[in-house]
């Protein structure tokens, strides 16, 4: 009678402990109720570190120092937007990347003349969480065509914290 009411647990050291089978059965109800309220799926934080802008800086080809460039205009092709007009830049230019396509072309009209830059890339899209919307990751950034003296991609995954992705040498 006692044997059927007890569950014997043999420990690794050879000792045995007995737990009441009835207690074990009731415990499972308690555990089920308890864990039901603690087993909800955790949601992700709404944090995205990616960006759809490529940061570009001009350098002097002679001494590798930052260059100052007079812009007449800078605009992405196939877009009505004008990024720069009649201004002088000595720092970073943010080039918007079109996440719906595999490449984006830009027309540079500067003191050096008219230049074209075409950037190619891949995109991955994910839903961050149900409350957060989507995130587009732009990676494997590369230049497909350019009219500059020299160009170098220094970072090929577009992340907010990185402030230089492309170097153009004049």
């Amino acid at each position: 009678m006692m044997a059927s009411a007890l569950i014997r647990i043999k420990l690794y050291n050879g000792n045995s402990v007995y737990i009441c089978a009835l207690m074990a059965k009731r415990s499972i109800y308690f555990v089920i109720v308890l864990l039901t309220f603690t087993s909800c799926q955790d949601e992700a934080d709404c944090i995205s570190v990616t960006t759809d802008f490529a940061n570009l800086q001009f350098y002097k080809i002679q001494d590798n120092e930052l260059d100052t460039v007079d812009f007449i205009s800078l605009k992405p092709l196939l877009s009505d937007s004008i990024l720069l007009a009649d201004t002088t830049i000595n720092g970073t230019i943010q080039l918007p990347i079109n996440p719906n396509t595999e490449s984006t072309a830009y027309a540079f009209e500067t003191e050096f003349g008219l230049d074209t830059l075409i950037l190619g890339y891949n995109t991955s899209t994910r839903l961050i969480a149900e409350d957060c919307g989507i995130e587009v990751i732009i990676f494997e950034l590369k230049e497909l065509r350019n009219d500059f003296d020299s160009i170098r991609i220094v970072n090929d995954v577009l992340i907010e914290d990185i402030n230089e992705d492309i170097r153009i040498y004049n």
Binding site: R8, D52, L127, D131, C132
Partner: protein, 232 residues
């Protein structure tokens, strides 16, 4: 007086010996028949059914089956998952897939007459994934465009360490739960659409995750289990 005390002590000792001998269980020295299954336990996950009934955008059903080989069990689980929802910013995401998990369990309650289980085990998990995301791209310099991208026929696999309980409630009816530590799933970096949810695993961005399942099961006996002899 000393002789009288000796006789009483000897009598008690002999009585105790003979009484003790009656309780000593003799274990057979053969393992023949020991590993032949005594029953199949089949069941379903109850929380998934509750969530399916309470949420109009979700269908998830999971079944389990296990078979015993003495204190070792082979466990199989099969499930199907289908969900479509709209997020807070208007994107539509749908994911569906069928998954299975398979692996061994070891029961630490080896002398329990009902076969109640306190177990530890491993699982190999596999799932198919079909998902689709429809969203509006709102780039700064380009026209807004509604895009729809998806994965068709994607799959994922992972490993699990599991522990849990199986308790006989009444006749063939059993209840139990399984706690899982999942690891080793692909994170799908580089895919055009990175899945948000992997059926049977959970959120796709988690390299490790925890999970719990609560089971209602029925045990179908295959043969009469050998009587368990308790050690003295």
């Amino acid at each position: 007086m000393k002789i009288f005390g000796f006789i009483i002590s000897a009598s008690l000792f002999i009585a105790n010996l003979s009484f003790g001998q009656a309780e000593i269980a003799l274990h057979p020295d053969s393992v023949k028949g020991k590993f032949i299954p005594t029953g199949i336990r089949i069941g379903t996950e109850v929380i998934n059914i509750g969530r399916t009934l309470s949420k109009s955008d979700l269908t998830e059903v999971t079944f389990t089956a296990d078979v015993d080989f003495n204190r070792y069990y082979l466990n199989m689980e099969f499930g199907t998952y289908d969900r479509s929802f709209e997020d807070q910013v208007g994107s539509l995401y749908s994911v569906s897939g069928n998954y299975f998990r398979i692996g061994p369990d070891i029961n630490f309650l080896k002398n329990d007459q009902d076969g109640n289980m306190l177990f530890f085990g491993f699982r190999y998990g596999w799932t198919s994934i079909n998902d689709e995301l429809t969203y509006m791209n709102t780039g700064a310099a380009f026209d807004n465009e509604t895009r729809s991208i998806g994965n068709n026929g994607l799959s994922a696999n992972w490993g699990e360490m599991v522990t849990g309980l199986r308790v006989k409630i009444w006749k063939m009816l059993w209840l139990g739960y399984t706690a899982r530590f999942r690891f080793g799933s692909d994170n799908f970096e580089g895919s055009e659409l990175i899945p948000h949810y992997v059926p049977g695993y959970g959120r796709a961005d988690k390299t490790v995750s925890w999970g719990l399942n609560y089971w209602v099961m029925v045990r179908l006996p295959l043969r009469t289990p050998p009587k368990i002899l308790f050690d003295k």
